[in-house]
Assembly symmetry: C2
Homo-oligomer: 205 residues x 2
């Protein structure tokens, strides 16, 4: 860990004065996400972020006491709200839209940054991160899937009682698993396969 080294001292009070608080913070957040996607969490340092954001280490430590706090704050500020519930008129169409949307999110720069953290840290040491990802990514996603399945139940396209917490976990679980095992090969994540081979068979009447 180089967290205590001083490889990139950088100016201390200068740059922060040149940019307003918000502009500086978003520049810092962007630098954090860039470093997460390129080098991963373990190699991310306050110094590296300060250098990339063209500010000083002191400007970072004035706002965040640790690398953990900085990264969590950058995630909270960057993760978008859940998308709208798709309404294509058919269960299959809605599920395809949800799965395609989730795949797009996972392969976005931000998604790559989140996956970099999730794949590097185990639950024991990443409790706070997992909590953010659960609250801002996992729960909205499973809620979206549950809503789509509930509408399908109302239309008689879903077997009553078929939708359980485990069933709504299947899509994110398969995606993260394939990304882990196939190295994020987008070809290994075909929304139609996930919907037609797994999700629809599970819930069909």
């Amino acid at each position: 860990m180089t967290a205590e080294t001083d490889a990139v001292p950088g100016p201390v009070a200068g740059p922060p004065l040149r940019r307003r608080g918000e502009a500086l913070e978003s520049a810092i957040h962007e630098a954090v996400l860039r470093q997460l996607t390129t080098d991963g969490y373990a190699r991310l340092t306050m110094e590296g972020v300060a250098a990339a954001a063209q500010t000083g280490k002191a400007a970072l430590y004035r706002r965040w006491t640790s690398k953990e706090e900085l990264v969590m704050d950058a995630l909270r500020a960057s993760l978008p709200p859940a998308g709208p519930v798709p309404d294509t008129g058919s269960l299959r169409g809605d599920l395809l839209a949800v799965v395609a949307g989730l795949r797009a999110a996972m392969f976005s720069d931000l998604g790559a940054a989140v996956r970099a953290i999730m794949s590097e840290l185990d639950h024991r040491r990443a409790h706070a991160f997992v909590a953010i990802v659960l609250e801002r990514v996992v729960e909205p996603t499973t809620a979206l899937i549950a809503e789509v399945l509930d509408r399908g139940t109302a239309r008689g396209e879903v077997r009553p009682g078929a939708v359980t917490p485990l069933v709504t976990d299947v899509v994110p679980a398969l995606m993260l698993y394939r990304i882990k095992m196939c190295g994020g090969d987008v070809v290994q994540l075909d929304p139609a396969e996930i919907v037609d081979e797994v999700l629809l068979p599970i819930v069909r009447p």
Copy 2:
């Protein structure tokens, strides 16, 4: 990374002479797995392993040129062969046996060590590890599930064409996902739920 530090020099040529090559190697492998489960991969060092195995750093470097090689070798030597295909006479019974066996393996010390590596390293930087886990854990597991489902197809308990690579990925995917999100709470991995809510509905005629 402290890989180059010399925190625990330890005796260099002494202990290896006290133990035969195999005894020393298995002591070293045990020390590696212990360190993986307690401290994780990132904090595992050649020095720490040498100290735990009561040998010297030099004895390790004579056999393995790097921490990566040492850990991979310890995994190869420790991972057991796949268990026999269960044959309870019913698809549900066989699937329950496979899922329960996989859960037991995941929560064993060795399983915890493997999960520690898998959860810390992403594919880009853990290519070699993922290859071992794919070959020694993932492929035998999915092959076992596929065999059980094929027997079910022969008995008319499985819809012909239902068994795809994605379907055989569902069980390990759900397990790793729940462990990641729930912090390895064994209660969150009920074999009966996985079989009755997900697997059987997917394949039933």
